[in-house]
Symmetry: C2
Subunit: 332 residues, 2 copies
Amino acid sequence: MNEHLTLAAGAGGKAMAELLDQVIRPLLSNPLLNQGHDGAYLPGDLCMTTDAYVIRPLEFPGGDIGKLAVCGTLNDLAMCGAKPLYLSLNLILEEGLEIALLRRVLTSLAQEAALAGVQVVTGDTKVVERGKADGIFIVTTGLGQRIAPQPFSPQGLQPGDLVLINGPLAQHGMAILAAREQLPFETPLRSDCAALHDLVATMLEAAPEIRLLRDPTRGGVAATCNELATASQVGICLQENQLPLDPPTQAALAMMGLDALSVANEGKLLAFCPAAAAPRLLTAMQGHPLGRQSAVIGLVTASTPGQVWLQTKAGGTRLVDMPLGEQLPRIC
Amino acid sequence: MNEHLTLAAGAGGKAMAELLDQVIRPLLSNPLLNQGHDGAYLPGDLCMTTDAYVIRPLEFPGGDIGKLAVCGTLNDLAMCGAKPLYLSLNLILEEGLEIALLRRVLTSLAQEAALAGVQVVTGDTKVVERGKADGIFIVTTGLGQRIAPQPFSPQGLQPGDLVLINGPLAQHGMAILAAREQLPFETPLRSDCAALHDLVATMLEAAPEIRLLRDPTRGGVAATCNELATASQVGICLQENQLPLDPPTQAALAMMGLDALSVANEGKLLAFCPAAAAPRLLTAMQGHPLGRQSAVIGLVTASTPGQVWLQTKAGGTRLVDMPLGEQLPRIC
């Protein structure tokens, strides 16, 4: 561990895992925190989850920090198999911020919450001096009620489980990168930023056997699969020719030399379920507006525990490593 | 309202009320948020509250941002008459932060949570580029169970209620100011930073008739009393000669020309209760380690609704205005 914090430690990869495992978790360890999921399962079938949003730019094609701050936290609840109930909202604002921008962001936040039928029940606002924050940081904390029959556990994957995704990869990360660097792509790239709780309710109704849900945000599918392969001590084998990609994002990835598996998503989930339930689950997902392009993209294996592999289109296999993390800082 | 955000809008005074009332609340309005208390009362006797901590310096006599982030949020739950159960924790960290400082702050945070028997059940860590934050920002969200017989309401004050405080005013704000400006006071000033949930449990047992509790943080007793006088449409008359003050803080206030009523506290509460219950409540408070210097400091009146008055030692009265807010930014 370095003596000083690096930017990479915030990007969802190896450096972040080091910060969490060597500094933060040992000091706070308790059975509820140690569940290690996207949120905590509390007594009374409650779920609690929290996320800070430090994205730049604040507005981007497909969303803004306000929409993201609602979707991201609702998704963490959804990944616990929970119906979202309440949100709290913290605003950390920089002196000199344009009030009109704040209004736009809060309007978008309020719309997204209303759409989901969720209320912001409490909040707090702080203002710091110019140059001591970056426009707007938002923290939302969500409280939800578990509707999945059992709590999910990152240790719960079983060999033979199939891996499903609800649509094209890497749209959020590439849209942010394009907006930030003002890259001149012909077709504008749009973030997939969306709240997945309704899709998850549909999925749980069709396939209550779902083993585990995870949204591949920072570090993308590669980080999520590596984390789960380690936690469950299984291998995960992904099929390159099954990975959904939209053509503009694919072109942008190729131009930038980036790997779709390592780029952040904000409206995608990975579902792991027993093979017998997968066809039923896939049909249910494809019947939902946020799952039209769902696909089975991989298999959980007993071999190579802790490792993620990709069967390439060319017919080879390559190891999918945990991203180091510095690819795209402040992506969410 | 200005077109750009001012620093004063974060300091708990008039400018902040304007930001909240003109920009933020209208966009998020709902019955639970509109309760306007330190936290939200949810179905099932749950309470939820959240606070961001952007204090500078990060370490100060009597505490640090870690201790503060636990105490502040536990206190907001306590002010709802709730027993704290769970916390979530967000860290927004600046690139280059000294890891040893992070460890000290998290150790202090963990100790304070353990002392209160409260677990950090979920969290999130973000890192932003050098110069885009100020070392460490922390957000904690608390979930608690109401133990007060009824929810408190800022509209609930009644003429004839007495106002009690659990000890000396202005210690946190003056300690921060002294630490920040490296003021050469002979006796070091210590923040009163403390978690008040146990004191509150004692108080509610002795006097379940308590009308309302509030912790006078940003903007101090002046801001809290003004807010409540307006909400309840009553007057509040404070007695200068009853206000507890410790001599070093009093000397520092005099030297700096500051008003004890407008300076932040982090281990103090104001309790409003029917006069008949006040002696019983005062005795209970004085019997608790965090209430030894408790005092009755004022009276709720039917006259001058919306106004706060101070009966001075000299025998006059003066209006206690809502602080404008720019006195001490980033005090909590």
